[in-house]
Symmetry: C2
Amino acid sequence: MPFQQTGIPGLLIYEPKVLGDHRGYFFESYNANTFSAAGIDYSFVQDNQARSVYGVLRGLHYQLEPYAQTKLVRVLEGRIIDAVVDIREGSPTYGKSFVIELSADNKLQLLVPKGFAHGYAVISETAEVMYKCDNFYHKNSEGGIIYNDPALEIDWGIDLKDAIVSEKDLILPKLADVQHNFIFNS
Amino acid sequence: MPFQQTGIPGLLIYEPKVLGDHRGYFFESYNANTFSAAGIDYSFVQDNQARSVYGVLRGLHYQLEPYAQTKLVRVLEGRIIDAVVDIREGSPTYGKSFVIELSADNKLQLLVPKGFAHGYAVISETAEVMYKCDNFYHKNSEGGIIYNDPALEIDWGIDLKDAIVSEKDLILPKLADVQHNFIFNS
Ligand SMILES: Cc1cn([C@H]2C[C@H](O)[C@@H](COP(=O)(O)OP(=O)(O)O[C@H]3OC[C@@H](O)[C@H](O)[C@H]3O)O2)c(=O)[nH]c1=O
Ligand SMILES: Cc1cn([C@H]2C[C@H](O)[C@@H](COP(=O)(O)OP(=O)(O)O[C@H]3OC[C@@H](O)[C@H](O)[C@H]3O)O2)c(=O)[nH]c1=O
């Protein structure tokens, strides 16, 4: 099975199979059948890509229902610490965070269901990150949590004094003060 | 309009809008709505990614009907000469080739409809190429045309004596001898 559990229901790690030969390598970075075969059915409608320098921290973000997005996150160049927080009302792991290093080398992908706040910090000189999502961008439904909320206990892998953060992200609330409308479905 | 015509019906160049800020940049590398708005409706089910060294030439390939694939090709790192040949019976441009340089810098994407043979040559030290497709891989329906068929008049941007080609691709037939079953729909 190319999917690994994380201890948080629905949050999965996907590792594609890379086929090498004398030319380089080839891999299916996404295949809807591979996901369906594991009972995971999403229809991804948008791919986003961002380049960032060392220390850039983007997040933590989500879109409210009915615009919530499942995200499939991976790294095309460099290395990041990818972080999520479960904010589904009624989830046994509500408020719990999870971090994983994603890189162009390890080619791991994090499948982040609806009802999670998501963000990442760049720990290489530069990084190029890409994610697929199953719902379109909807600016007015964006929400977020401040990255340095101590309740989240996230180790971003950088000294937070060096963090390069957008103005929008610097004024996000703490988890305890956040507005969201996600319900956990077991 | 983010789409440019190429002179071959249905073959389009897509240029996403890149938004820069102090962190780096962000862009929607794919958005189904952007395509729908231009009357282009595909449901992409598989993403493929390949790394290659300088001189690697992959192609020219297609899958026969009913497994034919629309491909949306772009480059994540490095530079390639991307080439296609129109092999749709009844097309006003049947047998005509088209080449374009795709690179991580120019971020252009080539939308290759069903009924084209497709391939590329790497003109940078290494290149990472990705493409989306709207039909799954189906090994037994693969077809191809030999890259150096003079009838195609393709300038691959490399000295063909240096071309690194798979064994499978070295024995492909010329266009005149090729089996295919694509019909042009105007
Ligand atoms: C998410 C998104 C953004 N944009 C635009 C808006 C801004 O002009 C620019 C950058 O947007 P930000 O909200 O600053 O993006 P960023 O901080 O990179 O956050 C993104 O990456 C981390 C992800 O967790 C998050 O969901 C996503 O919003 O891109 C789009 O055009 N489409 C989008 O889907
Ligand atoms: C196309 C494809 C290939 N594979 C496997 C088969 C081989 O073990 C390996 C490499 O396959 P090749 O047929 O040698 O791929 P390549 O020569 O890179 O051709 C690909 O890139 C250029 C494209 O034009 C072409 O459609 C596509 O087949 O990957 C998959 O597992 N899934 C796929 O979708």
